[in-house]
Symmetry: D2
Subunit: 282 residues, 4 copies
């Protein structure tokens, strides 16, 4: 006998740009929203009965409608409103999960002054949140960032590792350390200053990355996570993924030249992959 | 107090092309390998002590070295050899996980005959496997496919769903149904004919997709999973993700033209997202 | 003094899926269309006067409207209709250029028979055409293909090249030769069997690639172009671009292993780049 | 009879990271280099004779070797050195063309101060140059930028355009205007302050974009080009491409809501495409 186990469905890549108009100028937010619902959808799968199915097209409409009425500045608060709206109208839904990615836009500076209505796209870094609520439950809010591309040109070495018959990597006290940080942290409450906390966590991780005397990606990753937890009481856990995007020193000795850690080949693949979850001890 | 919870590391995007030379011609495989290790790496994170760290560069070398000695035709069997080699030499590792993606190359047909040494890249569909083994444990093998892009132009409708104040989608008995199937199944044993089973599962899912009289993506997804489980005794579970890649009917009535389900706009975003896990009842 | 030189504008990435319904089944085409117009648009640029500007949104509508009325099977013939429609209604336009890319869809085979209404996406190869016409002029039709990814595992060497103080590449009689062919040919008439000719040119180039005893990418590229011109009288010129997508032999001697042209690393960057235009002598 | 017309070859995607170490800190540049050569390569194409072929692998080595000896701060000056080196050693080459793309890295600010050795990846905007020299000729230097993504939320309308039976776009006095600027300008001399001029051109175009009261993309594009030419005497021509990346106003009236230019859907395709070349009158 065969049975349906976990299942969920929803709408992905709902893109939303919201312009807020003030007397002195305008604010711009670009969010990409995903809605995912779990619930009593067995008859849809087994019988083709759609009577409990909220169309994903309607979810898309809901994203835009709630964006219009919402006063939320933080995407976490918008996501909470959206989840509650969907739960309130759909008793067949057991839990609603909202994921939002925010794209970076920067206000243009023209003649030394911030321009009221002109913007430039920032880096490929994304700010993210995942908000989930079950019917009658509390919010679970995890926020993070993705694709924060960093590189340090000093204070990074890699020595003392295992050598075996397949080792070809030379030890080094001085290498380039390039990565693309992905991080997600868990809030202990759902009613906090999400934007202020995000800023503090991000700046703390950047400071630690820049200042750390790195013996390995693992050690720097842990130091970044630890510093974020020490700095921000409102989170109890952080997961970080940091690929090691290798910059290879070019062997110029073949051409009679030295290369005192100056000329490198940045590579995309293969890359090291390091991830860890760091938390407060219960 | 702060502590390290789960952590793992390894090498990603190790690309490997293997040419096997026979008297009558050559075979070509292109695999992209990921190695991930769990184990006793706390001192690396906390103290910068790398004495238990196998460098990811050495993992890369291992991928190539084992590829040379391996006689495996199936990537699952190669992944098992690679995992065991790493476990046997690294007592500090508690489990090794190998992920392989296989790129499709098709032998060229020239003048009606298969050419012995010329190949063309196939579709963007990937064949995948994830093989994991803990020290002293048994293999856990999950294989699958990704990005199998399908479209049916008949026998797909969507009706009888919930209507509310945010509904704008019209019901339809006849729509295009486009998707990009991602599937992963779990083997009950690790010593089976992986390539033969993969072929059977894939063809079974394709047949069901083509012939199904679809009331929803959910129903077709379930039917595909069910048919795979019915056809292949060696698997006990399959997870499928099927985005609904919408093809929108163009409203030509604005120009005085009809559009009898003929002219569509294919779109990438937003898209529906449907996933389910289907299994044999225990 | 400053002046406007060449300028043009239009609509890009207009995606169109056309389903043609027969008694016995359905045909599927997916085209991505670009419309570009040249003409008398100086006052728009200099004065902000839009009275001679056909909105790009209207071009998009035109793409769909003409697709509905068109009986053309070949995208070249559809592009000709689209160009003529735009020219006929816009006297301010001096020339219209239509570019179409066709995505590969393959009919599914189910239980050994072609299925009437189920399709699978083919490779990333694109079929292309660029059709241009000036007011009162004749059509200029250039068709081609893009991203045809090929690899040959025998009959390719590279020897006898220039050696200097910066040479590190070893000569080889036997290497892998991987490429992604982009080609464009020019028709001497605009009223030919575009689909039949395209098929012949493509198969001729594939046959030459497979059978050629290659001394260099340049030599194989030229042989492919030459064979296409010899086979098809309706074209007088062909341009081909063939990057050399290097597959590097892995040095396993470091691990005490041989590597008789068996284990390679396929790489994306850097890559060789070779292009040439080959034509009939006037 | 068939003949070889234009041809060229070289190496693409040669990635280079150069770290320059000062007492007070380090500078970081990431360049992606393309080398293309024209010359007497007929025997390679026709006969498979490689005696006049400089391997593209050697070009890659040359990119790194010259990067080590070069003192150039501007990529234009580096490209000139690279072209001259290749011309001086290869009499069979008639002209050398070097294209460089520079990726944006920003120095991290930590505790309010610029950090000496930590960097963050900037936006996806690229700075570019194309330097070409024929044997015995002068340098032709064209520099530019690519993928500068901008958006203005005020002072942009589109009215007074042609209406016909296929028009559906409503006129608007107030729309979002999003684009991704690609520009390339031509220097009248090859021995100028490339970095200073680049900065001036870029800031001038940004100021014009921000402040322009836009009646169309065409008008704003021309104004940007004109202001750059007016500001910088060292260039005589600029080409700009500005796709119109549409942000569609969501129709919330279906849900009983207004939408006073506040909630938009940003879209990637289709998009408008506008390009023009603007120059000093001869």
């Amino acid at each position: 006998m065969i049975e349906l186990a976990e299942n969920r469905y929803g709408k992905s890549r709902v893109r939303l740009m919201k312009v807020t108009r003030h007397d002195h100028g305008q604010d711009l937010r670009e969010w990409t929203v995903q809605v995912l619902l779990k619930g009593d959808f067995d008859t849809a799968h087994l019988l083709g009965d759609n009577s409990k199915i909220l169309p994903t097209d309607t979810m898309k409409n809901t994203v835009y409608s709630i964006a219009r009425t919402s006063k939320a500045a933080a995407m976490e608060d918008y996501a909470k409103e959206l989840a509650d709206f969907l739960l309130s109208r759909n008793p067949q839904v057991s839990s609603a999960s909202i994921h939002v990615e925010s794209t970076l836009w920067k206000r243009l500076t023209v003649d030394g002054k911030p321009h009221p209505s002109a913007f430039m796209r920032g880096s490929g870094e994304l700010q993210t949140t995942s908000v989930e609520r079950a019917h009658g439950g509390t919010f679970r809010v995890r926020s993070g960032l993705d694709n924060l591309v960093l590189l340090k040109t000093a204070n990074s070495g890699f020595e003392g590792y295992i050598k075996d018959s397949l080792t070809t990597l030379p030890e080094t006290k001085d290498r380039l350390f390039g990565t693309a940080v992905s991080a997600e942290w868990h809030y202990t409450a759902s009613d906090v200053d999400f934007e202020g906390i995000r800023k503090t966590i991000r700046e703390t991780m950047l400071r630690t990355f820049a200042n750390h005397d790195s013996k390995s990606v693992q050690q720097t990753l842990y130091a970044m996570a630890e510093s974020a937890l020490e700095e921000v009481a409102a989170i109890d856990e952080i997961e970080i993924t940091m690929p090691n995007k290798h910059c290879l020193l070019v062997d110029l000795s073949r051409f009679g030249q030295d290369n005192p850690n100056e000329i490198f080949v940045p590579t995309d693949e293969p890359h090291g992959y390091i991830e860890a979850r760091v938390r407060r001890k219960p």
